[in-house]
C-alpha cells in the first residue's frame, strides 16, 4: 500500500490550475491532453529515485513448482520446494518426486531427474571414452550437455548421441521473467539477494543483466532469491467507466502502484 497517496483527480486539478483552465469544464481535448501528460510525468518521476511506495520485494523462483499431478517431458525444469532446488526431467513421466530426504540430506531421484548444482548429476565434465557412467550423470560432448539414462561404460561406438544411454539436455535458464502470474510486473531491479533486503541490508547480492526476456541472474546459489524491484509504471489509457462494458483482468493487472 502507498502510505500517503493522492488521487488522479487531485493531480489533474493541480495541472488545470497551473494552466488557468477551468477543471470543472474541461473540453474532451483538454482532458485527454492532461491525462497524457500526467501519464508521462508518472514515468519521469518514478524513474528518478527508488521511492519505497513504488517498490516491491518478492522471493521468487525461476521455474514452476513440481507437482505430482503433472506429466513431465524430457528437459523440463521444476522447482522442488522441500529441497529448495531445481531439477531437470531426464525421462518423461508423472508423479516421481525429484528428491527424497533420507534424514540427513536430499537424495536425487536420478532415474527421472538431474539436480542443478549437484556435481555428480549436473556436471560430470567432458564425456570420455572408456568411462563408467551411472544413471543421472551429466556430461558435455561437443559443447552440448547430455544426461545418462542407463548405466554403461562408454566407448567409441557408445557416444552421447546413443539415445538408449543418453538424453540431450537444455541448459538451465537463469532468467527471471518480467511478468509472472500473481506478482507485479518488474520495472527495474534494484537488488537480488540471498535474504530479504529490507531486514538484511548487507545480504549477499547477485549480479544481474536485464534482457529482452527478463532479468538474467548471474551466479545464483539459492533456489529462491529475493528480488527488490521497481514496479512497472502504468500508463493511463483507460476510458471512462461504462456500466454496460465488460472488463477483464490482464496478465499485468498488478503492474500498478498501490500494491
Amino acid at each position: 500500500m502507498i502510505a500517503n497517496a493522492t488521487t488522479y483527480d487531485e493531480v489533474a486539478r493541480a495541472v488545470a490550475n497551473k494552466l488557468s483552465w477551468d477543471y470543472d469544464n474541461l473540453t474532451d481535448q483538454e482532458w485527454n491532453l492532461i491525462r497524457t501528460e500526467i501519464s508521462a510525468a508518472f514515468e519521469w518521476a518514478a524513474r528518478a529515485y527508488w521511492f519505497e511506495d513504488l517498490m516491491a520485494v518478492e522471493r521468487v523462483q525461476l521455474k514452476a513448482s513440481w507437482s505430482a499431478a503433472t506429466a513431465y517431458a524430457v528437459n523440463q525444469w521444476v522447482y522442488h520446494a522441500p529441497s529448495d532446488d531445481y531439477y531437470q526431467c531426464l525421462q518423461a513421466h508423472t508423479n516421481s518426486e525429484p528428491a527424497t530426504f533420507d534424514g540427513t540430506e536430499w537424495d536425487t531421484n536420478v532415474t527421472y531427474w538431474a539436480r542443478l548444482w549437484e556435481e555428480e548429476s549436473y556436471d560430470a565434465g567432458t564425456w570420455t571414452s572408456g568411462a563408467a557412467y551411472t544413471l543421472g550423470q551429466r556430461v558435455y560432448w561437443n559443447g552440448d550437455p547430455y544426461a545418462c539414462i542407463q548405466a554403461h561404460t562408454s566407448s567409441s561406438v557408445l557416444l552421447p548421441t546413443s539415445t538408449a544411454y543418453w538424453t540431450a539436455l537444455d541448459e538451465f535458464d537463469y532468467t527471471l521473467p518480467y511478468a509472472w502470474p500473481g506478482r507485479p510486473v518488474i520495472g527495474r531491479v534494484r537488488k537480488i539477494t540471498t535474504l530479504d533486503p529490507r531486514a538484511n541490508p548487507y545480504a549477499a547480492a547477485f549480479e544481474f543483466v536485464p534482457t529482452a526476456d527478463g532479468i538474467r541472474i548471474e551466479g545464483l546459489t539459492v533456489g529462491r532469491p529475493w528480488v527488490w524491484y521497481r514496479v512497472r509504471t502504468p500508463e493511463l489509457t483507460g476510458e471512462d467507466y461504462s456500466a454496460t462494458a465488460s472488463y477483464t483482468a490482464e496478465s499485468d493487472a498488478k503492474a500498478v502502484w498501490g500494491l
Binding site: 502507498i2 502510505a3 500517503n4 497517496a5 493522492t6 488521487t7 488522479y8 483527480d9 487531485e10 493531480v11 493541480a14 495541472v15 497551473k18 494552466l19 491532453l33 492532461i34 491525462r35 501528460e37 500526467i38 508521462a40 510525468a41 508518472f42 519521469w44 518521476a45 518514478a46 528518478a48 529515485y49 527508488w50 521511492f51 519505497e52 511506495d53 513504488l54 529490507r198 531486514a199 538484511n200 541490508p201 502504468p234 493511463l236 489509457t237 483507460g238 476510458e239 471512462d240 467507466y241 461504462s242 456500466a243 454496460t244 462494458a245 465488460s246 472488463y247 477483464t248 483482468a249 490482464e250 493487472a253 498488478k254 500498478v256 502502484w257 498501490g258
Partner: protein, 91 residues
C-alpha cells in the same frame, strides 16, 4: 480492456467484471494511487508540457525539477532512517 477512469482515480480490473463499478465492487478493482510526494512534481511537469507560453513552460519545468529533487531528498531521508533501524550490531 482492463483499465478505466472512474472519478477520482484510474482502476485496473483484477477479475472479469461487468456492470459493477469500482465503487460498487471495490474488491474487483485496484486503484492507481499516486504517492503524495510526487503530486507536485507530476502536476508541474504535466503543466509545463501544456503551457502555451514557452517561457512560463520552462519556468514550470524548472519548478517541477526542484519539486522532484525535494521529493527525492525526503524519500532518501526516510530510506536512511529505515536502514538505520535495521542495522544489527554485536553487543
Amino acid at each position: 480492456m482492463s483499465q478505466v477512469y472512474f472519478s477520482p482515480d484510474f482502476y485496473y480490473a483484477t477479475e472479469t467484471v461487468s456492470g459493477e463499478s469500482p465503487a460498487a465492487s471495490p474488491a474487483k478493482w485496484q486503484a492507481l494511487k499516486i504517492p503524495l510526494d510526487l503530486k507536485q512534481p507530476i502536476a508541474l511537469l504535466a503543466a509545463s508540457q501544456l503551457h502555451r507560453n514557452a517561457e512560463q513552460g520552462v519556468a514550470l519545468y524548472q519548478q517541477a525539477s526542484a519539486a522532484l529533487l525535494l521529493a527525492i531528498q525526503e524519500a532518501s531521508r526516510r530510506d536512511g532512517r529505515y536502514r538505520q533501524r535495521n542495522i544489527v550490531t554485536s553487543p
